[in-house]
């Protein structure tokens, strides 16, 4: 547990060079909030769906930004020159690997709460009282599920070498296919089927249910589905990382992970 906590704290803090708050404010506040406003305004201009559709979709969609931090927290070990130390350490891998996502869950939640505040204050989003708890749980599930994607991307980044590009791809694919901006019924059949393996699709749907005032039960099965999917992505990331580590040890090239 100590290892988990230490990994979570330092990998998160190192990511934003927190000696100055500007990088944090830009990457974790200005960027997601302006993204939310941009897509919500396109939706308002398009007019095919009520504004709430886009506001809720993109508020939950801001969870995608969490994938950047988590994937970089995993993949930056090589860039920072600490990968060989990490792999040589006798510490158990599970807390080291999954600890990297821990603080991003809390940070992602803050992000989404800020996005919700923008949606409420600037765009007039109104969530019925009975839907508030469900919406908060939706945000938590969306963030955890996306952390799973981030862990997988971070591990895969050791092979393709470019974390930022990978995370950007993931973010836009998720924003396009999860139903955050385009109703799934409008997407071509095979693409809509692909949306079912995206760990935000169900959270977006659940978020819309709760924003419409549905009871907590109404979206729970959807949220469990996304949570399970996020776990699958996270475990897949761990397996990829372990496989790369094993290969690197066998072939004697730690930096080649």
């Amino acid at each position: 547990m100590r290892l988990f906590g230490v990994t979570a704290y330092y990998s998160f803090r190192a990511l934003f060079h927190w000696l100055s708050p500007m990088p944090y404010l830009v990457y974790r506040a200005l960027f997601p909030l302006s993204q939310l406003a941009f897509f919500a305004l396109i939706g308002a201009y398009g007019g095919s769906q009520p504004l709430t559709f886009y506001l809720v979709g993109n508020t939950v969609g801001t969870a995608t930004l969490t994938a950047f931090g988590v994937s970089q927290a995993v993949a930056d070990e090589r860039q920072q020159g600490t990968l060989s130390y990490l792999l040589a350490a006798p510490a158990p891998r599970v807390p080291i690997f999954f600890g990297r996502a821990a603080l991003h869950v809390a940070d992602g939640m803050l992000n989404m709460l800020a996005a919700t505040a923008i949606a409420v204050i600037l765009f007039g989003l109104r969530v019925p009282v009975e839907g508030i708890v469900g919406l908060v749980i939706t945000m938590l599930v969306a963030t955890i599920a996306i952390c799973g994607v981030g862990l997988l991307l971070g591990a895969v980044a050791y092979i393709v070498l470019d974390t930022a590009v990978l995370a950007n791809f993931a973010m836009f694919i998720i924003l396009l296919l999860s139903g955050a901006n385009v109703p799934l019924s409008e997407l071509p059949g095979p693409v809509a089927a692909l949306a079912q393996v995206i760990p935000l699709t169900r959270s977006v749907a659940a978020g819309r249910l709760y924003a419409a005032g549905a009871s907590l039960d109404a979206g729970l099965s959807l949220l469990v589905g996304d949570l399970a999917l996020g776990a699958v992505y996270g475990v897949a990331g761990y397996l990829v990382f372990n496989w790369l580590e094993m290969r690197a040890r066998r072939e004697g090239r730690l930096e080649g992970v």
């Binding site: 830009v26 960027f31 201009y45 398009g46 007019g47 901006n181």
Partner: protein, 260 residues
């Protein structure tokens, strides 16, 4: 003059090749516009007055802007990371020509967004894509590209002289998409924001290109857009020139370039 142009063109060619193999800038110029274009096409196609050319132009501008924003704010920083900044500062070649050429190469590459956006509308969605005023559109495109290049030139020294400003610039991607009316009219924004839009070259670029592609812009409006593109681009280029001088001052006299 010939020598300066030769330096600028060589710098542009090297930069063009670098950008074409840079994963992040490729994403900004190709993949991001693809995702934004497809999403926007789906969202806006239900409008009764839907014009696919509007999405094509807006998507292309988003790609050009993103590429220039990231390349511009990283233009000099990139030299620092590569260890060539001091060499460039000490070289007798005009710094403005080197950086200007570099961003010109990036700008040329970013035009791939325009081709891609056309493909999204014409091939992926099968819409007939036509430009109502092709000659005016072509002139507007040239002026828009020059003004956006000047904006990138302004960002280059700004990002190295003040690091926190440089980091802030990176967050200006979506705000400028919105403030410039790339994919929805700026009238959707609060009225007090409009004066900010009016001083942005991307706003006038979108104004001229949307207007000439749809044919909705009269001659007076078109000339006004062209004048403002030249004016805002010229002012930013002038400021860039002064700031680049400051970069050289720090490099040569104060010796604090690497510490800025």
């Amino acid at each position: 003059m010939t020598r300066t142009l030769r330096i600028a063109s060589q710098s542009a060619w090297v930069s063009f090749q670098e950008v074409a193999t840079n994963g992040f800038l490729l994403f900004a110029a190709v993949w991001q516009p693809l995702f934004i274009g497809v999403t926007t096409m789906y969202v806006l196609r239900h409008r009764t007055d839907f014009d696919p050319m509007y999405v094509v132009v807006g998507t292309a501008l988003s790609g050009i802007w993103s590429t220039l924003l990231f390349a511009g704010s990283g233009a000099i920083n990139h030299e620092r990371w590569m260890g060539t900044l001091e060499l460039l500062a000490a070289s007798p070649a005009p710094f403005l020509a080197v950086i200007g050429g570099k961003l010109a190469g990036t700008t040329m590459f970013s035009l791939v967004s325009l081709v891609l956006s056309y493909m999204i509308g014409a091939v992926l969605f099968g819409y007939p894509i036509a430009i109502a005023q092709p000659v005016s559109f072509a002139i507007s495109l040239v002026l828009a590209v020059v003004a956006l290049w000047a904006t990138g030139m302004f960002f280059a020294p700004l990002a190295i002289l003040w690091r926190s400003v440089g980091r802030f610039l990176l967050g200006l991607e979506y705000p400028v998409f919105a403030l410039s009316g790339f994919l929805f009219p700026v009238l959707l924004l609060p009225i007090w924001i409009l004066p900010i839009s009016l001083v942005l070259p991307p706003y006038w670029a979108a104004f001229a290109l949307h207007g000439t592609s749809s044919g909705d812009l009269d001659l007076g409006g078109l000339l006004r857009a062209w004048v403002f593109l030249l004016l805002t681009g010229g002012v930013l280029l002038l400021l860039a020139s002064r700031l680049l001088d400051e970069v050289l001052t720090r490099a040569r006299r104060a010796g604090t370039l690497a510490l800025s």
